[in-house]
Symmetry: C2
Subunit: 774 residues, 2 copies
């Protein structure tokens, strides 16, 4: 826990320079635009502790796997988000002394992440070892409009003396990843050119031959006046700079505008990079900093217009939720279906891979509701396009006939993770991928997606499940042996209730969609059947047979589903009776002790109740919730949100709020002293869910939005936006009443506390807060 | 499978030079003397594929652990057997051309491992690229008497021309391990000195500061005549050589005698190495090659006198079993209780660590019966001395009050292995360590061991088990969750029958021994109780409570014990119905598929029936054997032997023989194409067990040897030796009769086929082969 940031509704503010916080702030103040992103590294030299990080969506490196004991089926390499060319670098020398906040005396310092307008700002006054005092201000953004463009305005003012100032703005491709498994570097430079108005570096990954190009143009102003000063140009094998030297009088403001273009071969043909970069740089500098910045800010205004959440009466909570929405929105924009939402986004190296089941289980609802149907659809298409690899992956593990197992962690569809109990056994991820299709169609009504893409994925997943079970003659039931559920504090268990339940649901939904597509679009259906060899009659019959004879462990006495067979053989201790000194158990206990204990890392049975809520009555949800939440240590950042939603679901708003708080400011307040590694991007979506589906009680049933709001006691009000099909609604909840504004779209009928309510085009309704009716 | 070696009763013979076999032969022809050992590398340069290996018992390196995903409780490093200074090197240049079998034309080649006398011999004729033909012969041994001495006789004869021959005999400390986790080198040289009659290198490991010293003296003879030739001396930072240059006429035999001394700080004070080495080298060269060799051969004659097994009518089998006895005998001699039997002995790098439960389960019976009580006792003392570390290890995992968990893999008592399902869960090893004490006392009658050492270990182990179980209110029984049994094709299972059974046995035996020590040696007992805080009444009561309420899974209908709870939920397929193309499954199947299958790697329930045979009737053994053997793929070299013994136990000699064959020549015929990595030393003991306990049906019951022999159909006879307390017996079994010779010791009564038989001092008896009576 580290609470050094100021509370503010729209900004993240660090108003003091504490070197120990540098890495944390580099993560928290990260900026991105969906196509690229970077940690909030200083432009000027910083010789203190720092993690340089500049990332380009979709550009990765297959780092050779590091593993202790090889297991058959492990991937040979691990696709890793890679740090690429540092293009923000601006080295400053004043009377020959280099500006470096690690060696200068910092007199004041302020760093601001302006979330409303999407930029990073920094200002400080410092005294260099040679006695020169400087005021420095920088503003930096990655354009949300021209997504290959970044720009920096960097100003330096000597305040106690005239000074000779040398500003060296550079591109540096000699970068590395701290988490390289064998300390290897990932990049070769294939072209460097330095020029006075256009400099660039083209580099290529040592494996897979990804190419990226970085270019820059630098313009110098003094006291607002452009200087027609030509820079000195220096270049090395992996480096190029533009160097300006000016004599500034005390009080003169020397300003550098740096325009950068960042491209990759995902979007441009190799061999044509130079031309593309030149065009981009010319375009950007002609448009100029202010215009680029205006357009960028307008784009952010649009985003907020669909996605904002307000919380009155709690600035910390307001800041927390906006920070989450901001980070999610700059990590993924849905423009490119080859990209996805990495667990650390563009804010750090850790984990590698870009796609986990987090995307389907947590992120999809956020993007679907706040960024619209098209963005959500891109997330589904990402998996659709990787279906071939998922089938290959399953084949490698021994499955046949087009069964698909989506990878636990992936970049391009291939499995990147190598931990048998996860890679091979945490197969419930397949269920989340199918459920996302259902969830998307339920929300958007876009049934065409099922016809064109969804069914093919659903069949492949159902095929996997039908092969993954076996019939136990002992039990006279189908069993699913050797799985790891969402609760990774159990490995290799038999008959995990959630996994078996979602597996059966997948087979049921695949059958339903198959019948829908057959009846509505038989030509496409027949084409699909023949293309993938779908033996409709027999395969569906087998799915049915399995579904109706699956072994689902439960305890009738307690009235709960059992996390897995044998769960009650464990010593049953409640979390509240666990010595606080023993927590978090993932740091205090050996792994086997964790495994043997009854303690739960994150929702498992409850994940199933969350996804398939409509199938269970409130009492069942309540019994299971109370049994399992009491045993859950929430040692995954993805844990509290599902519990919070369910606590709201059963009307326990105090508990829902307590759980909500556990992730709302997870990164801002650095709960686990790990934010320096990067932000928990995907769990931010969970926090959003806690508000919208939890406190807001928002659901979609029978093509209709429904709400069952509750409000935490210490909030005056909260509001959120919902982009539902043709409408954008704003829901505002106070202690006494609930208002719905139909901001965009025609008349719409929604269900509130169980009753239909019409909200006219452009109109609003207000009703009293009531008891939930689910 | 690769059967390039000649069959011979006493020798291993390779009579052809096939470069592809070099690494395999380097393993197979390894020599050692318990204190050190080495692969059968060529003395002269060999630029072909080779694994240089020279190892010193007890000298290891803590190589930084390589792990994919860290789990709490993992060790930071992995103690590794290390390749140390190459002292056999003899570089030969003829008319300036270096002798190298990779570039010379090999006209004939023969390599022999003389097992009877314990030496390695090699002779070949080759033509160098410059046309010179050479006859070369070398003889090498590591003295079994002066265990710090090795000697080489290396002879070169030019046969088609006069030639200038340069012989450069060297020590080279610049060596590495192929299996270094991060490619690091392990040695620093701290002293090198070259001299005409004494050269040495002292080197030190980069971590832990092990010091080893290697010295040499070289003497040159021509045609049997000593040459008073002083060598030229060259040295480098990690290298020193003695170089002789002679002009030889065609037909002259130039012979180099090389004496080497190899010491370490396990046995000598650092700082005194030079003096020690000098004394050793002087002693060895004064004694001379022939005398050293004679003494060495006599020591081997002694070994064979206690340990030989003969098989008539099957040369391949005869060679196989002698090879196993030979390798075991040169790997461990019991002179130093700090050493143990590594899975690859001194024959390769793989695995690291030196001690697995193999020692107690498989090796102890071999050494106890063939090398005598003292040697066996050293193996127990090794664990006794590591008890403190075993308690620390358990403490690290959360156990308290002096509970001990012995490591899965160790060098000095600390855990070296990092694979959670093994390291933390394959805890049955603790049972094998307790069982070895029982087995030793049963065989030797040395109950003093219990008083002085055994009880302390047994209590610590019993304490572990009593904490490892928990009471399941669901079952009303104690359960043991999250274990991996000997069958490593199941991980993290609940209530593994073997583990729970051996755990209860440990608690029972600890109670029994506790009561024995209390009643026979109360003073020592009280001292122990007070030293280790043993709360006799309560602790024993808890052990009893657990033992009498433990959950042991079984299937009453089938009349079998269940490998683990839920085993019958698996799809039940027999190995005979498995497509041969799918085998071995550990190469053909993904790990999760292996785990989910019913297939068994090595004896699990059957390991318990083997250890605790006396507690089960023959029908129970038979039912379980038939159920499990049919599901066992024997993909551990430790698997077939236990099954072979049990097959003999139930009278199925055909099956026992079939299983025996699977390991008898495992390395000689390179079944799994892996002998190049080193030999399967510990499983060799299993082969010995198959004969002695299996075909011989030897047991000890109530302080008496018992036999129930069977003989495989295609053997004319077999015989083995048994060193039992004061006697050495030789048992010879033919198709019709069984003879017992009382070779050493006074009159002895043994039980044969259920009947007592007296064999007088120096006498023998012969009786007809009959039906077994267990």
């Amino acid at each position: 826990m580290n609470t050094y940031l100021k509370h503010d509704e729209w900004r993240i503010i660090e108003d003091n320079f504490i070197p120990e916080n540098t890495r944390a702030s580099e993560s928290i103040f990260s900026i991105g635009n969906g196509a690229m992103g970077q940690r909030a590294n200083f432009e000027e030299k910083y010789s203190g502790n720092s993690l340089q990080g500049s990332y380009i969506g979709g550009v990765y490196y297959p780092d050779k796997t590091r593993v202790g004991w090889w297991k058959n089926g492990y991937p040979e390499y691990f696709a890793k988000v890679i740090n690429s060319t540092n293009w923000i670098g601006i080295s400053v020398k004043v009377n020959g002394e280099e500006l470096d906040l690690a060696t200068a005396k910092v007199l004041n310092f302020c760093r601001i992440l302006n979330m409303k307008e999407g930029y990073l700002e920094r200002s400080f006054t410092c005294e260099l070892p040679n006695g020169i005092k400087l005021e420095v201000k920088s503003t930096r953004f990655l354009s949300m409009v021209d997504t290959e463009i970044g720009a920096i305005r960097y100003s330096i003012k000597p305040v106690n003396s005239n000074a000779s100032i040398q500003i060296s703005s550079y591109l540096d491709a000699d970068v590395h990843n701290e988490d390289s498994n064998y300390g290897e570097k990932f990049w070769d430079v294939i072209d460097v050119r330095g020029g006075e108005i256009f400099s660039y570096i083209i580099s290529q990954t040592k494996k897979l031959d990804f190419q990226v190009g970085h270019a820059m143009r630098n313009l110098l102003f003094i006291n607002g006046q452009p200087q027609n000063l030509k820079p000195q140009v220096n270049s090395g094998q992996m480096y190029v700079d533009n160097r300006f030297t000016v004599n500034a009088s005390s009080g003169d403001e020397v300003i550098l505008y740096k325009y950068a273009a960042v491209i990759s071969n995902l979007n441009h043909e190799k061999g044509k990079f130079t031309k593309v970069l030149e065009t981009l740089i010319e375009g950007a500098s002609e448009k100029g900093f202010d215009k680029l910045f205006d357009e960028h800010r307008k784009a952010w205004a649009d985003i907020w217009n669909h996605s904002d959440i307000t919380i009155e009466g709690d600035v910390a909570a307001q800041q927390g939720i906006r920070f989450n929405i901001f980070q999610l929105s700059q990590t993924y924009t849905g423009r490119d279906e080859r990209l996805n939402i990495g667990p650390k986004g563009f804010t750090g190296e850790k984990y590698g891979g870009s796609t986990y089941w987090d995307t389907e289980a947590y992120c999809l609802p956020f993007y679907m509701v706040t960024h619209g149907q098209k963005v959500a659809r891109q997330l589904l298409l990402y998996r659709y396009k990787q279906l071939g690899k998922a089938i290959e992956n399953a084949h490698k593990l021994g499955y046949t006939d087009g069964a698909a197992l989506y990878p636990m962690v992936t970049m391009n569809g291939e499995e990147c993770h190598n931990e048998w109990e996860i890679t091979f056994e945490e197969i419930h991820r397949n269920g989340a991928i199918a459920f996302a299709i259902y969830n998307y169609v339920r929300y958007t009504g876009d049934k065409d997606y099922l016809v064109d893409f969804g069914l093919e994925v659903l069949i492949a997943i159902a095929r996997f499940w039908s092969q993954r079970v076996n019939f136990s003659t002992e039990k006279g039931k189908y069993v699913m042996l050797g799985v790891t559920g969402p609760n990774e504090y159990e490995n290799n268990v038999n008959n995990n209730w959630y996994t078996s339940t979602i597996a059966c649901w997948c087979m049921e939904y695949a059958e339903e969609v198959s019948s829908y597509v057959k009846s509505t679009n038989n030509a496409k259906y027949q084409e699909l059947c023949s293309r993938i060899g779908f033996d409709e009659v027999n395969e569906i019959a087998r799915w049915k047979e399995i579904r109706s004879n699956i072994f689902l462990p439960e305890d009738k006495k307690l009235g709960i589903f059992l996390q897995q067979e044998g769960y009650l053989d464990k010593e049953q201790i409640l979390v509240k009776n666990l010595d606080p000194k023993e927590r978090p158990i993932n740091q205090k206990w050996s792994w086997d002790r964790i495994l043997r204990s009854c303690f739960i890392k994150q929702a498992d049975v409850l994940q199933g109740l969350y996804f398939l809520e409509d199938r269970f009555d409130t009492e069942t949800i309540k019994r299971n919730y109370e049994f399992y939440e009491n045993r859950t240590v929430h040692e995954s950042s993805l844990s509290p949100c599902v519990h919070s939603v369910l606590a709201s679901r059963i009307g326990n708003v105090e508990k829902a709020y307590e759980l909500y708080l556990r992730t709302a400011r997870l990164d801002l307040d650095d709960y686990n002293n790990e934010v320096k590694e990067g932000l928990h991007i995907t769990s931010m979506a969970g926090t959003w869910i806690s508000i919208v589906e939890g406190f807001g009680g928002m659901r979609v049933r029978s093509n209709m939005l429904t709400f069952n709001p509750l409000i935490p006691q210490n909030w005056k009000s909260f509001s959120f936006k919902v982009w539902f099909r043709g409408n954008v609604l704003k829901i505002r909840v106070t202690n006494s009443e609930l208002s719905l504004f139909n901001e965009v779209g025609s008349n719409i009928t929604v269900k509130i506390y169980g009753k239909d309510q019409l909200i006219p085009e452009g109109g609003a309704i207000t009703i009293a807060v009531q008891k939930q009716v689910y």
